[in-house]
């Protein structure tokens, strides 16, 4: 394997609510190599975005990150504010779910595009040229006109392209895309994902794609990490996750998906999705897992290597046959 760029080890995040610290992320262990694309998938509220914020330390002063976040070997959680500003933008770029909410409505698109570069000390002339080149590369040929316009004069798809261009302008090594296409219509989604893919191959960029769309994640990533209630339960190669899911949650997730051409009734996972702060000491999926035993409810399982997947399940060796049966229904 190539050099590791980002390493999360038992990373968590606690947020104070009414005087108490509540966990929104329990335990995320994940690595991203240089040039690799990794998907982080999970239901709404499973802590995907909060994990992304922790990586960039885009947290409020009273939020408490836990565990380790290492970027190119450096401990992000120990960085001072000056070093952190260099990291943000110049080393890790980020694009967001709703480009409109994430763009200042009273400043021109040019201001948004240039502000990161200007803050990093790039001369305005050079920054403008770089921005125009980037706009062309994300499919915006009339960059000069677009830069003079305001965000409300652009469609969501165009605005997201500008966000991508702004993120790429600082030449980061890692780009975190937090649900980059959720707010866009389907055709625009594909274009935006294609642009991200191009940027990745051209620049040797590492990608962390956060999404709840398993197909989208499978299409643009090398590996997928499945998150539930604030913890990563399985990490698998994108190509084989669908057919070879190991963890009871992932398998249940796969069998709950509707398939084109199939008249089979859609299955659901019994119980309701829980939030990270609702789960106790044990496995975060224990309450809904058909294979859960007492041990599962008292001790949190660690991720371990099983047939090329990483799976966090105490009983993974014992329940192999049942899992195969469940998966057989796919």
């Amino acid at each position: 394997m190539t050099e590791t760029l980002l390493e999360l080890q038992h990373t968590g995040l606690d947020i104070p609510v009414g005087g108490r610290l509540l966990p929104v992320v329990h335990d995320v262990t994940l690595t991203i190599a240089r040039g690799e694309s990794v998907g982080l998938v999970g239901e709404s509220g499973s802590g995907k975005s909060m994990t992304a914020r922790t990586i960039m330390r885009l947290t409020r002063h009273d939020w408490r990150p836990r565990g380790a976040v290492r970027f190119a070997g450096e401990d992000v959680l120990a960085m001072g504010s000056r070093r952190l500003r260099q990291l943000r933008g110049a080393e890790i770029g980020m694009i967001y779910q709703d480009p409109r909410a994430h763009t200042n409505p009273v400043r021109t698109n040019g201001d948004s595009l240039l502000e990161g570069m200007l803050a990093a000390g790039v001369p305005r002339q050079e920054a403008t040229e770089r921005a125009l080149g980037l706009l062309a590369s994300v499919g915006i040929p009339d960059g000069v006109r677009r830069m003079a316009q305001y965000p409300h004069q652009l469609s969501g798809g165009l605005l997201q392209r500008i966000m991508i261009a702004a993120a790429m302008s600082m030449q980061p090594q890692l780009l975190i895309a937090d649900e980059p296409t959720t707010a866009l219509d389907v055709t625009t989604q594909e274009e935006v994902m294609a642009i991200l893919g191009e940027q990745r191959t051209e620049r040797g960029l590492s990608l962390l794609v956060i999404t709840h769309d398993l197909d989208l994640a499978a299409a643009v990533t090398d590996r997928i990490a499945v998150m539930y209630a604030g913890a990563v339960l399985e990490v698998a190669p994108s190509r084989s996750l669908h057919r070879e899911a190991r963890h009871p949650y992932t398998v249940a997730l796969m069998t709950s998906r509707p398939a084109l051409g199939s008249r089979r009734r859609i299955q659901t996972i019994p119980g309701r999705p829980v939030s990270a702060f609702e789960v106790g000491e044990g496995c975060v999926f224990a309450a809904r897992c058909p294979f859960a035993v007492d041990h599962c409810r008292t001790e949190r399982p660690e991720l371990r290597e099983v047939d090329g997947h990483q799976v966090a399940c105490h009983r993974i060796d014992e329940i192999g046959d049942e899992i195969d049966t469940l998966r057989g229904e796919l």
């Binding site: 260099q86 990291l87 980020m94 967001y96 909410a101 400043r107 948004s112 990161g116 803050a119 004069q153």
Partner: protein
């Protein structure tokens, strides 16, 4: 700015409509100038003759049109009370009122916005600012005036108790300091509250996170992404404040014995000095329209979304 004619036009229409409403309201008020002018011993016939001479028997719309035409030529009628041209009566008093209002407005901008920004500089000041502004809003100008006179003029003797000065600007401002504070105090508190709330709201916006994620320094984020956006409601409120100060000058000028148009309005109303009341009311409306129009123009300049909405 494409929108300027539209905004100014809207202001002019407001002015026209407001002037007619005021004219109408005054004409409906009990007692008319003819009765007042003729005196107690006049017979009904004499009053009626006077009414005809003054043109008061004509329909109100005709009278309004005549008044409007004359006003536009600078003829604001005559003061019955002072037996003087209304324009020449008002003109020398206008300066004092404008100075007072300008002084109070400056206090509002500096201390109101300053107060509202304190919690952004030191977060522990947030609650004290909330309490102080809540108290400040509830102090009426006349109460503030009495307290200020008692404490700073009578007890401490730092400022004059009453009156204005004919001296240089510094001396005039010294005389107007307590009145300006009395006039400004509740608006300082209000603008302070709006500023605090607005800055707080903008600081929590998602695009501020984008700016943080681009590696901008806190100072740059505050000025370019928080303050710039928070200025929009602050300007709206400041425009209203300026307009309200002009009306508030009535009470404060009376309380401090300042010979501006506010106190003149009070004496004119009591004397049923029709033309003067009308002229001063119009000046107030004009000030109100000018203040809100300027605020509107500033908003259009500051918020691009307003621009395209109007040109669309």
């Amino acid at each position: 700015m494409k929108e300027a004619p539209r905004v100014v036009g809207r202001g002019l229409i407001t002015l026209l409509v407001a002037s007619f409403v005021i004219y109408l309201a005054l004409s409906l008020a009990p007692g008319d100038p003819a009765t007042a002018l003729a005196g107690n011993r006049a017979t009904p016939e004499q009053v009626e003759t006077l009414r005809q001479q003054l043109g008061l028997d004509r329909p109100v719309v005709v009278r309004y049109a005549a008044w409007l035409a004359a006003s536009l030529h600078g003829d604001l009628g005559r003061s019955l009370q002072f037996r003087q041209d209304t324009a020449s009566l008002i003109e020398p008093r206008l300066g004092v009122t404008f100075l007072l209002v300008g002084y109070a407005f400056l206090l509002i901008l500096v201390f109101g916005i300053g107060l509202g920004l304190l919690p952004s500089v030191r977060s522990w000041l947030s609650w004290p600012v909330v309490v102080v502004t809540a108290l400040g809003i509830s102090i009426p100008a006349f109460v503030a005036a009495m307290i200020l006179i008692q404490v700073f003029a009578l007890n401490l003797g730092w400022f004059p108790v009453l009156g204005t000065s004919n001296g240089d600007l510094r001396d005039q401002l010294w005389h107007l300091t307590l009145p300006a504070i009395a006039l400004a105090i509740s608006w300082v508190a209000y603008v302070g509250q709006i500023t605090r709330a607005s800055v707080r709201e903008q600081a929590g916006k998602e695009h501020v996170d984008t700016a943080r994620g681009r590696g901008l320094a806190p100072r740059a984020i505050f000025s370019k992404h928080v303050l710039r956006n928070a200025a929009i409601p602050i300007i709206t409120i400041s425009g209203l404040a300026l307009a309200a100060l002009v009306a508030g000058s009535i009470v404060v000028e009376t309380a401090f014995g300042i010979g501006g148009i506010g106190s003149l309005l009070v004496t004119s109303v009591l004397a049923k000095d029709y033309d003067v009341v009308l002229a001063i009311s119009m000046i107030f409306v004009l000030a109100f329209v000018v203040a809100t129009t300027v605020a509107d123009l500033a908003l259009v300049a500051l918020d691009p979304r307003l621009r395209s909405k109007m040109s669309a």
